[in-house]
């Protein structure tokens, strides 16, 4: 069943009446009709393209039995929206919003530790199980159902990897954009563990980028536990230190977070490293062939 989301997911959109929230709810629902409603305070009782709108997440969950929320709430209120979803018992919270103040996320992250939920993002493209569920802003048509998992901090670079896989005839089990902020709910290690335990995933493409040490942590885990092949790439080998490269978390600071340290950790963990982002798909083909998986 791939990981985290499938055709049985029941999804609401927080911020469904905003322009981005509305647009992407329509696109995602057209890809796979798993949306059951939306939340916009003050607009409860109204409808959005046949989906009921509620004032609160708690009300939406009570009536629709939603277990997933996609958040498009503007940055000043997005951390609050994450906590609201967690408090209402939503099991998977996918926060697309970019630009949330880090101090807000420090509190929201701490708050959800005691709740029965998983957060993906913020500042991410979302998650897709091709053919079954699209919860986010990725273009559905480039994906193809299959057995390769993809995890990445980036949006369009994930599409690049997916495009290469699809062009090579390899479909995807699930693709997760975990987000480019310094604080995110699901990290590379979490994603690798999920893919490792998923019977429908044969191999994983792991895309990291400069900043922090999450890739090293994931490699330290993978070295001893990952039983499936992993192809890895790190974006930002040419990035200058001390500059924030678009993503709030993509910065080499205090001598930490450089691409070479991450590549070294990948090599040490037996990850099949590609230094060119154009070779993610072809390397995967090569790896699967040598493992006898295709």
């Amino acid at each position: 069943m791939a990981i985290l989301v499938d055709s049985n997911s029941r999804v609401i959109t927080q911020g469904i009446t905003g322009s981005a929230g509305g647009f992407h709810t329509r696109m995602s629902h057209a890809y796979a009709p798993i949306f059951v409603g939306g939340v916009t305070p003050g607009k409860g009782g109204q409808w959005f393209d046949g989906l009921p709108i509620f004032n609160t997440v708690a009300e939406a969950r009570k009536i629709t039995a939603a277990n997933v929320s996609m958040i498009f709430v503007p940055p000043p209120f997005a951390a609050d929206a994450i906590m609201e979803a967690a408090d209402a018992g939503i099991e998977l919270i996918v926060c697309i919003t970019e630009g949330i103040p880090v101090n807000d996320m420090v509190r929201a992250w701490r708050y959800i530790q005691d709740k029965n939920c998983r957060l993906i993002g913020p500042n991410c493209p979302g998650i897709i199980t091709p053919g079954q569920a699209k919860i986010g802003i990725m273009p559905g048509h480039i994906h193809k159902p299959g057995r390769i998992g993809v995890v990445s901090k980036s949006g369009t670079l994930t599409y690049e990897a997916v495009g290469q896989l699809t062009a090579a005839g390899l479909g995807q089990s699930t693709c997760i954009g975990i987000g480019g902020d310094p604080i995110i709910g699901t990290n590379h290690t979490d994603a690798l563990k999920l893919f490792n335990d998923d019977p429908d995933t044969d191999a994983v493409i792991m895309i990291g980028e400069i900043g922090g040490t999450a890739e090293q942590d994931a490699c330290a885990w993978a070295k001893h536990h990952m039983t499936k092949p992993v192809v890895g790439f790190i974006a930002g080998a040419t990035a200058p230190p001390g500059r924030r490269m678009g993503h709030a978390g993509a910065i080499i600071s205090g001598g930490q977070g450089g691409a070479e340290d991450k590549y070294a950790a990948m090599e040490d963990a037996g990850v099949h490293v590609v230094r060119s982002p154009a070779e993610m798909g072809s390397k995967m083909v090569e790896v699967l062939k040598s493992a006898g998986l295709i």
Binding site: R110, T156, I183, T213, A235, G236, M245, G246, A250
Partner: protein, 413 residues
């Protein structure tokens, strides 16, 4: 957003952190008056720029080119006077301010271009017995704020971390309860500050910088050095504060302090057009959608032997006007020998990008080869528009194809 030292100290002072009394002067007469008003017979005059290494920096207008080379190379014992001066008389203050104001300070961090000094804070000189380092920042490993301190004040924390990591002490704040008073006291004792007055003052300073961090939506508050006087009093002698750009919408006063003269003019212009742009030293200009793909585009240019001239993310929903601004900013850089456009259309439609590129070229002309790679949503339509435009655009199908063509074109092949 980086703040100047005097701005950082103002924020810290508001949250109960002791800083040396002083005034930021914009001309020599004000600097002299500031010193007289402060009284005493010992003052510090500093050149206010963001770059580090000011004390060892030298002024372009006062020394020769060889000396500047030495500064940038990080040589010891460079002749001449620097950007931080200890003054024992009013005449010294006047001389220091005259040397600094309006002149160009070159430090190891600024490179040979240097930065023009517009402000000189004048503060009373401190009586220094011990120097320590202390900062508050986000620990990404556990998503909590960490209070970090070391007895090796005056040294860059990166150096301490590399050479003597056990000298760095840390305590983490639970966001629900904040930084506990006991944690601040514990930190003071861990640093060997056992004198009652000193440990209390230090703990109060630690709490003050944590409160400053929260109240100002900082991403870094660093005091280096924090100084203990021979009397055992604690003061923040130098301060660095960086504000989280994502929170500037609710930090209006601080946002108004932004000093655009510290940033590259092309970066300032790009920011106004809502483009994420960073100037680099290479010859291949890049225009890409998405930060990860933009970094990867730089990486693949390098992989094929070229050098990127910039990082540029036009974002997920760029309009035609932004594409035009982006291409204008890139083409204005005289070192750019070729431009590589790399778009993977998701939400962004490739036909919109194509229209933007055609409009920009029609407006400004095209002085260097332009390689365009379009993939994803409406890629075929975008390619068709470019092909029918009659412009001398070099089309590319894949990322590797585009990078190879761009590197060859930049080399004049």
């Amino acid at each position: 957003m980086k703040l100047h030292e005097y701005q950082a100290k103002e924020l810290l002072r508001r949250h109960g952190v002791p800083v040396p009394p002083g005034t930021a002067a914009h001309n020599v007469a004000d600097a002299v008056q500031a010193a007289k008003d402060l009284g005493g017979n010992f003052w510090v005059v500093k050149a206010q720029v963001h770059a580090g290494g000011r004390g060892k920096g030298r002024f372009k207008e006062a020394v020769d080119a060889n000396t500047l080379e030495m500064v940038v190379a990080g040589a010891a014992d460079v002749p001449g006077k620097g950007g931080v001066q200890l003054c024992r008389s009013i005449d010294d203050v006047k001389a220091a301010a005259s040397l600094m104001l309006g002149n160009t300070l070159v430090t190891k961090q600024t490179g040979l271009d240097g930065v023009v000094v517009k402000t000189v804070p004048v503060t009373t000189g401190a009586d220094i017995e011990t120097e320590l380092y202390v900062s508050v920042l986000l620990d990404r490993a556990n998503s909590r704020l960490v209070l970090m301190a070391s007895t090796e004040g005056g040294t860059e924390i990166e150096e301490v971390a590399a050479e003597n990591p056990s000298a760095i002490k840390k305590v983490w704040a639970d966001p629900i309860t904040g930084l506990g008073s006991w944690q601040c006291m514990q930190m003071a004792y861990d640093l060997g500050l056992t004198q009652k007055k000193t440990s209390r003052q230090a703990a109060k300073l630690f709490q003050g910088i944590y409160q400053t961090y929260l109240a100002t939506d900082a991403s870094l508050v660093e005091i280096n050095p924090m100084v203990i006087s021979s009397e055992g009093d604690v003061v923040a002698l130098d301060a660095k504060v960086t504000i989280d750009d994502n929170a500037l919408f609710r930090q209006k006063e601080i946002a108004s302090w932004y000093d655009e003269s510290e940033d590259d003019p092309s970066e300032v212009e790009a920011a106004k057009a809502h483009l994420s742009f960073i100037k680099l030293d290479g010859t291949i200009g890049c225009m890409v959608n998405g930060a990860g793909l933009a970094m990867s585009t730089m990486d693949i240019i390098k992989h094929y032997g070229g050098e990127p001239a910039n990082f540029l993310d036009v974002g997920g929903g760029a309009k035609k006007e932004q594409i035009i601004s982006a291409l204008n900013i890139i083409t204005r850089d005289p070192s750019v020998k070729c431009i590589m456009v790399n778009i993977f259309g998701g939400i962004m439609r490739c036909d919109v990008i194509a229209e933007g590129v055609i409009a920009a070229v029609a407006e400004t002309g095209l002085s260097v080869p332009l390689v365009v790679r379009l993939a994803g949503t409406n890629a075929e339509l975008g390619k068709k528009l470019l092909a029918e435009s009659g412009l001398a655009i070099i089309p590319a199908d894949t990322l590797a194809d585009a990078a190879e063509k761009a590197v060859a074109a930049a080399a004049g092949k």
